[in-house]
Amino acid sequence: MTLERVDARVATQTLVVFFENSSIGELARDRIRRLASKHPSRVVILDAAQSESMHRIEGSDWVELGVSGTPPEALRSAVDTLRVADTPVVLLWIAPGIGTDPRFEMLCDGVQTVVYNSSLLDLGHEALCELVDYVARHPAIPITDIAYLRLAPWQECVAIFFDGKDVAELAAVRRVEIGCGSDPEAFYLLGWLASRLGWTPSENDALVDRSGNRINFEIRREGDPRRIARIAISSSRATFSAEIDKSEPTILLSVTGPDRHATRYRAINDPGIAALVERAILRGRKDKVFHDALAAAGEILAKQRN
């Protein structure tokens, strides 16, 4: 007979999840369960669609509270009581209004990571603008955006184009076209390019590089929500295109021009929302590249709004 040790599990973080839309809440519960099965967590669900009379506890590490009408201070107090001592607290805010909702500011206090999703509610670029404004007013907030993290395979593909000798072409880029099913991802991708390459917005459809050369850009609604469909970057000599292959989770990479290149493929490895939240927790807090991209996207959007 073999005696096996009990597989003890200890929460390594407290996940606080706030939402006020029931259908989003159901989706969020499913994803959070997946995440918590990977990173042992105490999960505190704050369901603003439910009245305060609702509360549900599963085991020792899953707590749901109805918080409709609950004052911000009471929300924070509840989290302080329920959090696992000496472990980081992660706030997943799945609602609009981060700039105006006092509950958001109150819940952010003392939290190690805030995870936001500017494209979840499909508010055009409003949610992104709100994030830009909030971060400008609270530069120390340890926030990251799922919409930005979704770009990873596209950033990789764009970077691949310019590894090695083709890096020189970056100085000669004159046009960028992005097709995307939602605005935030598209502006993040453009903002990321601009921030890495020193481009600044000059008009509502153009940027300039540090030598004063004009770079036209175009963003089109195309493909599935929250998904990039394609990006084409053109220099005076070549066009570098990355495009989704709808039949498979693959991006096709092609280069036209004098240094033509055979089509290449790259797996998208769509990680799912749980994995993106995980990524946000692991590397989101001090991601300077994200903050640069966000600031650049904000400047581009500001030019468009003017």
Binding site: I160, D163, S195, R196, G198, T250, V289, A295
Partner: protein, 519 residues
């Protein structure tokens, strides 16, 4: 908006302009485009480990997009037949969800080619050169070539000589690197001969001696445990440590490897490389950086502080064994001498243990006990650091045993860290008992460690030698085990087989050290 540093393409160490878009990406350390040539591509290691590792890298995006794979071996295949062979092996050895299919496989497959080769025929290596040049044109591999020697070691010098003869030791357009599988030699003399053959063609910074143990996540975590925490380092020395036990035990026998194993034995197969590498990581001083040569330099210093046992001390500082028939997991298993391709009067040890001392300020007087064996009760690899007993007990007449603290770094099959300490049993009486504080990678991070070969092949393509063994360390490890090897070889052990399969090992090991942890 960016500052100057992030916006400008800088020049990297190898003279190529750095890509400013790489900063902050998950694959910030992007591997260069390259062709990888697998010598011995029709063998077992390639199909079970290397090919799945490369395809998995392809799927998870860590392989460069501009990539090509060339198989080079004696078995006759056309390019298409070899692609089909690869597809079948991947069907067998890749997990569900990662089987070869669709555009990803088609793209991977068209980058695979094969050369049926006689390793003694220079013209076949010239064919390889042409194929590499063709890959540079077709797949943009830019003259970067990784040669992976997964053949029997006896062929290594021949391949290296032929690479030179065909002008493949260097490419004016890119880098050339060579990965050498273990064992690196069969003794000190043969290791030096092999090294001379390699260094006549490749400089040290192009040689990647692989020990797949070093690619395992918990092995890398030894460095993090020691140098990313403050609580361990102050007590990591002779003042607090009673002894260190390093165990690499297997429940398997020699399986299909009887022919090889009978000429090798446990000392060569495990102690000289895996186990001594673990010792170096546990005992080394803090490196000044995570740079490959800073870490490898510290590892070498530790090994150079170990005095090889004098021939006259071998019997008091080591123990050997050979398994006889017994039972594992409730099943009867045969003895070593009954295994296929093993001599019926074999003198080869299937169990080896040694006591070594690191003669430096930190470790003077602390014994390091190393053991490795086959057909032990279960598979376990671990490092156990046993701390000194308390200096004074104030529990009066209590009969409770107060055990020393033990920190166990678990490598296989569990991956994690366990700490044993004493705690008071609740109640009015003064009783203490041992309790354990466990960290497991599985529950702590909820992620599977990447397979060692995936990590190591990726590092070789990236040019990161941290997890590969430098020649000075390989040579020193051979110097340490050589006296034991010589005495054992020259002395027939008439007690063999001296431990039953499924037991804790031979009695001689218990005489060497009575307090081995139970396997």
């Amino acid at each position: 908006m960016p500052d100057e540093a992030t916006a400008t393409a800088t020049v990297s160490g190898d003279g190529a302009a750095a890509n400013p878009l790489r900063e902050g990406l998950a694959t910030e350390r992007i591997a260069n485009p390259c062709s990888v040539v697998f010598f011995g591509a029709s063998g077992d290691l390639f199909k079970r480990m290397l090919l799945p590792a490369v395809y998995s890298m392809r799927l998870n995006g860590t392989l460069p997009t501009d990539f090509a794979l060339i198989g080079f071996a004696r078995t006759a295949y056309t390019d298409d037949a070899f692609r089909e062979y690869c597809r079948k092996q991947l069907e067998l050895f890749m997990p569900d969800g990662s089987k070869p299919q669709g555009a990803m496989w088609d793209d991977f497959a068209r980058r695979i080619s094969y050369i049926t080769a006689d390793f003694n025929n220079t013209s076949h290596f010239k064919d390889l050169k042409k194929r590499l040049e063709q890959n540079d044109r077709d797949f943009g591999t830019r003259g970067n070539h990784l040669f992976y020697l997964s053949t029997p070691p006896s062929v290594f010098p021949v391949i290296i000589k032929q690479l030179k003869a065909a002008g493949l030791e260097k490419d004016p357009q890119g880098w050339t690197r060579i990965v050498v599988e273990k064992p690196f030699g069969t003794d000190l003399a043969s290791a030096r001969t092999l090294q001379r053959a390699i260094e006549a063609v490749f400089p040290e910074n192009e040689i990647y001696r692989i020990d797949h143990y070093l690619g395992k996540e918990p092995v890398q975590d030894i460095i993090a445990l020691r140098f990313a925490n403050t609580i361990f380092e102050p007590i990591w020395n002779r003042n607090y440590v009673q002894n260190v036990q390093i165990t690499s035990a297997e429940s398997l026998g020699v399986e299909e490897r009887g022919g090889y194993y009978d000429s090798a034995g446990a000392l060569r197969d495990m102690i000289q490389n895996h186990v001594i590498n673990l010792l170096a990581l546990v005992a080394m001083e803090p490196p000044i950086s995570s740079n490959a040569d800073d870490i490898r330099g510290e590892k070498y210093k530790v090994l150079s502080a170990i005095d090889p046992p004098a021939h006259t001390d071998v019997w008091s500082m080591s123990a050997r064994g050979q398994y006889g028939p017994g039972a594992i997991d409730g099943r009867a298993v045969k003895g070593y001498r009954q295994e296929p391709d093993v001599a019926p009067d074999s003198n080869t040890e299937t169990f080896a243990a040694a006591m070594l001392f690191v003669q430096n300020w930190r470790w003077a007087g602390v014994p390091f006990y190393l053991r490795s064996g086959k057909r032990l009760p279960r598979k376990v690899s671990e490092i156990a650091v046993t701390f000194k007993p308390i200096p004074h007990r104030f529990y009066g007449e209590s009969t409770d045993q107060i055990e020393p603290n033990v920190l166990v770094i678990k490598i296989e099959p569990d991956e994690g860290i366990s700490m044993r300490f004493e705690a008071k049993v609740p109640g009015p009486e003064e009783h203490v008992r041992s309790v354990y504080m466990d960290f497991n990678y599985g529950s702590g991070f909820g992620v599977q460690s990447p397979p060692a070969y995936e990590r190591l092949i990726g590092d070789a393509i990236l040019g990161d030698q941290t997890l590969f063994t430098r020649w000075d360390a390989v040579e020193r490890a051979w110097e340490i085990v050589t006296p034991i090897l010589e005495v054992w070889q020259n002395t027939k052990d008439f007690t063999f087989p001296n431990y039953a399969a499924g037991s804790q090992g031979p009695e001689s090991a218990r005489k060497l050290f009575p307090d081995w942890r139970h396997i």
